[in-house]
Symmetry: C2
Subunit: 400 residues, 2 copies
Amino acid sequence: MFDEPVSDPHATGGEPVIDSPSSPPSAPSSGSARAARTPGRRPGRTPATRAAAPVDPVAAVLPLDDRKLAVLRAIVQDYVGTEEPVGSKALVERHNLGVSPATVRNDMATLEEDGYIQQPHTSAGRIPTDKGYRLFVDRLAEIKPMSAPERRAIRHFLDGAVDLDDVVARTVRLLAQLTRQVAVVQYPSLSRSSVRHVELVMLAPTKVLLVLITNTGRVEQRMVDCPAPIGESTLAELRARLNARAGGRRFPEVPALVEDLPLSFEPAERPIVSTVLSTFFESLVEQSEERIMLAGTANLTRFGHDFPLTIQPVLEALEEQVVLLRLLGETNDGGMTVRIGRENDYEGLNSTSVVSVGYGSGDESVAKLGVIGPTRMDYPSTMGAVRAVARYVGQILAES
Amino acid sequence: MFDEPVSDPHATGGEPVIDSPSSPPSAPSSGSARAARTPGRRPGRTPATRAAAPVDPVAAVLPLDDRKLAVLRAIVQDYVGTEEPVGSKALVERHNLGVSPATVRNDMATLEEDGYIQQPHTSAGRIPTDKGYRLFVDRLAEIKPMSAPERRAIRHFLDGAVDLDDVVARTVRLLAQLTRQVAVVQYPSLSRSSVRHVELVMLAPTKVLLVLITNTGRVEQRMVDCPAPIGESTLAELRARLNARAGGRRFPEVPALVEDLPLSFEPAERPIVSTVLSTFFESLVEQSEERIMLAGTANLTRFGHDFPLTIQPVLEALEEQVVLLRLLGETNDGGMTVRIGRENDYEGLNSTSVVSVGYGSGDESVAKLGVIGPTRMDYPSTMGAVRAVARYVGQILAES
DNA sequence: GGCTGGCACTCTGCATCGAAGAGTGCCAGA
DNA sequence: TCTGGCACTCTTCGATGCAGAGTGCCAGCC
């Protein structure tokens, strides 16, 4: 059965939101500039260019005809469902492809030569390789939209949130539940937010608490140790000027806007003001720039048979905020990003796939979210869930 | 080798800080009122009372002599080390107990009858039961103090923290590393902290951001939707009065101290003031009362052979803040609490042990921390690490 | 009464073996 | 280009057998 167009998988349903990682923003290779692209390593793997310049010797072999693609898709679907290598006979039975097992076997041999599938052992069925999944995601899969009840449930669940922490917490849990995988949600990034209010609270003569509130509702605080006692009036003035200049501005602009502030104070007070300001920038911008929330680690137990070996490095990766941040950081700004297996830079995640996307209150993204699962995941559904959740979080943020 | 006193394991080294869960606060059963007690289910299991009233038919059998206790201890130690059932021959070889394997076998038979050890299969070695671990922890084990370099490392690591979040974050990671288990740290509880400062920030005419700073450096914020626009001057006045009355007070006292505040405002403003105040109490006290941080989940992979079955429910438990909070909540205020296997109320943790203790800036605890590991854990070392970390965090908090 | 050596017994763990089944690759023919 | 057939490979599973570890019990000794 070949019920979806292969040449442009996005023609029928959802918008084309798939971006492969590290695909060059230029050089649209197929009809639509926003259509799926193959990763940089295998350039020119699309109908439009495949005949033109056979850069890669493997790629040169490659007039993968429709049936072979259908076979690959069937293999991916079956393997994702059963977790077992799929053989030619079973494939023909389950997908009535209209040809005999022998023919499918020939196709499989081709697909294996080209590196899309592989055999765990001689005379076992085939399983998709990372490259196979890549092709599946890029050209064969269609993002599966959420059903109406699912959408309602998402909406309802997120609507109950009382503050930003709660929004993020609910979002991760929701995402983990929907996808039955590990979910990761980044807090709205400071660098993409704007300043709503800056508050300075004196706790002791030389101790000031700096509280920053962003337009996304995020609140950050930091203790400042002043070199000398600071007067309440100075503090009030600094607060007023800081808010006047920075209020409403995007974060990256702020330093330039307030750097001359110390000059407007008495010389004696300038060092103090400078200290407060530098803490403001350094600590808030650099240190706690990014926060992340995680849920669904229990889903890791459904990973596979070779359990402890796979799960340990993944758990370790999940403990490292840095790794997660970099992971999400690689999300393409435009659309959904899928990184499959070894496409992930971090070694511990070499047998996982990461589906991530930006979300935001307006039309641009303020942070990323995503899920981490086995390469052997149900990509269409996962991508659908990730996309849907990202949209609703964006809406919620825009409302509050 | 029988190098530590059995009758009172606390005579030589560390203070008696072990408390069994659910042990009645009254009825000290041995010499020291703070000495280890056995859980309620098995009353009267101590030298002082064992001959008096044989309540329990099993307990009646029980003049466990010193050698049997030594055998039990040896079994626990060996099993913890090897993860394999330990037999009589190996026991005699490794611990030169001064008797023959046959004798040890007889002792083992007794210990098994009494429920302290069990055989996985006929003619396999013995492994300790929960009850066996309980006895070990209560009477045979001594908390192993940290070495000087370890203490220095702890101190050094925690000293680098820049704010409360950082202190807590460093603490969990440290604890997880030291014990090689899952670590849990509760944020300093609001109900045991005092108010350092309350800040009210107007974000919109009817939106006020309430920021609360505690003496432990914890900062909580909450959005308040006012029923009517609130004036800047009213807000300033409310802020001043709130701080005047609540500043420095313990949290539980605060409601009573400020409940009449609305009356000191114009009648028109009272509803607004009331709204702010009620958010102050309800949200802060009830909802986000407790926060928890977690680390070391990757250590779960070292749990045991029967892997996925054990780890899944544990991971699920760890995802539930509520479960963790209740877990820590059961920590005895006085000293260290060890809950072994089925002593844990939560079913998913029935094959784990939880070692927890309170920590605080002064002499009383403001929150709890602990680790979760397999019942087959090295209790002396784990307890030593937990105790040491708790002390240092307390010191750090007291300083800042 | 408690400890010990000896002995028979049980059970696991491991390797070996063989049969069954699934799947492949290749070839000749339509 | 597809198909049916066939030989071959390799995994899986159960049965079998053997070695090793550990026990329980008993009779004898101190």
